[in-house]
């Protein structure tokens, strides 16, 4: 199996302000492949908590559209995960 690459994948940070917005994230998780970084899983998502999730490049546009359409607070923590994976090794060999 070739190693998985994460080119163009993004990590979103969303702050659902209320139950309705928390449910929107729930609905997004039903139709998209969201990898929850914080909290560990969708069933922990609630209003007024910080939610971080990873999503493929392809799905990120539609996610962003829904978040914008619902005027949700969000930021993109990581714009290209593969790049970040390579950048984590930022200490030279001894």
């Amino acid at each position: 199996i070739a190693p998985v690459r994460f080119d163009g994948e993004k990590v979103f940070r969303v702050k659902p302000q209320d139950e309705k917005q928390a449910n929107i994230i729930n609905d997004l998780a039903k139709i998209n492949e969201l990898d929850f970084w914080y909290p560990d899983a969708i069933h922990h998502v609630a209003a007024n908590m910080t939610v971080d999730f990873r999503v493929s490049e392809k799905e990120s546009q539609s996610i962003q559209f829904v978040l914008d359409q619902n005027k949700m607070h969000y930021e993109i923590l990581i714009h290209d995960l593969q790049e970040e994976i390579e950048k984590q090794f930022d200490v030279k060999e001894d």
Binding site: E84, Q88, F89, V91, D94
Partner: protein, 308 residues
């Protein structure tokens, strides 16, 4: 020449195994390696025992790497062993601790998952066991402990990241750790498990909003430990019970250890707060380890002074 082990870098499993052998050979009077079991894919589970070989003493059990992608966690366990052996006889607190306590350090709990996160999928979290009647692989080892194991229905889907496994302690890794802790229960006074990220110091419980009987004391220790941690680089941690600080969780090692009788049980969520998340750059490994070291030494010293 294969690249060497480095405390300033992330090390793959092969390097960590070689490093355990090196530590035993370099410090035979203080470090011994115990094979407590093996993983689903037959990798060894090694605990390093740090301390003098003489009579039974109070001890601390620390585990790292229960979730594969949380790489800074195993980096801390390696740093701890390095600092313990390097500063014994030089640093007053570490000398006092090692003169009177043992430390059992499990550098990587989820070995198969860790290897997979290096070789195939950097975002992997669970172990690598196969699940009956499912194409999905892996159990979340931190939902597999017998602590209100099946109280949340959303952990029974093998395709989810928080799958609890088919039964409590169903995973070889979990069983190896619980058997070891049960067989050393008389001496183990502190249980500490290391995760990332969020910068939190977590206390029991996760499976209930009920506070543990000695919560006031645990909260006092956690407050001082996080204050001490922040003296190094002003890194801010919050602390509190899992359930109300993050969210309700079942089957966690922290709750299991506490309910087994280890009344000083803590879970660290190391750096950072999301800027890099699991992909914390290596340049932050040393600062993270140095500040965490202060908190761990305080906790151990407190328990040494406050337990019979």
């Amino acid at each position: 020449i294969p690249k060497r082990h480095s405390y300033a870098k992330y090390n793959n499993w092969e390097k960590i195994v070689a490093w355990t052998e090196k530590m035993v050979n370099k410090h035979p009077e203080m470090v011994s390696r115990i094979k407590i079991g093996s993983t689903v894919e037959d990798n060894p589970l090694y605990v390093l025992k740090i301390g003098k070989k003489d009579k039974r003493r109070k001890s601390v059990f620390m585990d790292c790497g229960i979730h594969a992608r949380e790489w800074v966690s195993p980096a801390f366990c390696q740093w701890f062993v390095y600092q313990a052996t390097k500063t014994y006889g030089k640093n007053k607190i570490m000398t006092k601790l090692l003169d009177q306590m043992n430390f059992y350090v499990l550098p990587v709990f989820n070995v198969d998952g860790y290897i997979w996160s290096w070789t195939k999928n950097r975002m992997w979290r669970k172990n690598r066991s196969k699940n009956k009647n499912s194409k999905c692989i892996g159990t979340d080892l931190n939902r597999n402990f017998n602590a209100s194991w099946n109280s949340f229905s959303d952990t029974k889907n093998p395709c989810k990241e928080t799958f609890r496994g088919p039964a409590p302690e169903s995973e070889k890794e979990t069983k190896a750790v619980t058997d070891f802790i049960r067989s050393h229960l008389k001496s183990i006074k502190v249980y500490i498990t290391f995760h990332s990220y969020s910068q939190m110091l977590l206390l029991p419980y996760g499976y209930t909003s009920k506070l543990p009987p000695n919560y006031k004391e645990l909260a006092k220790v956690a407050k001082i430990a996080t204050d001490v941690l922040s003296t190094q680089y002003e890194t801010r941690y919050i602390y509190g019970p899992i359930e109300s600080t993050i969210y309700p969780t079942s089957g966690s090692s922290l709750d299991w250890a506490y309910d087994l009788g280890i009344k000083y049980a803590f879970a660290f969520e190391l750096r950072d707060k999301g800027k890099f998340g699991f992909l914390l750059p290596e340049s932050q490994i040393k600062p993270t380890c140095k500040e965490t070291m202060l908190a761990v030494k305080f906790i151990a010293k407190y328990v040494l002074q406050h337990t019979s």
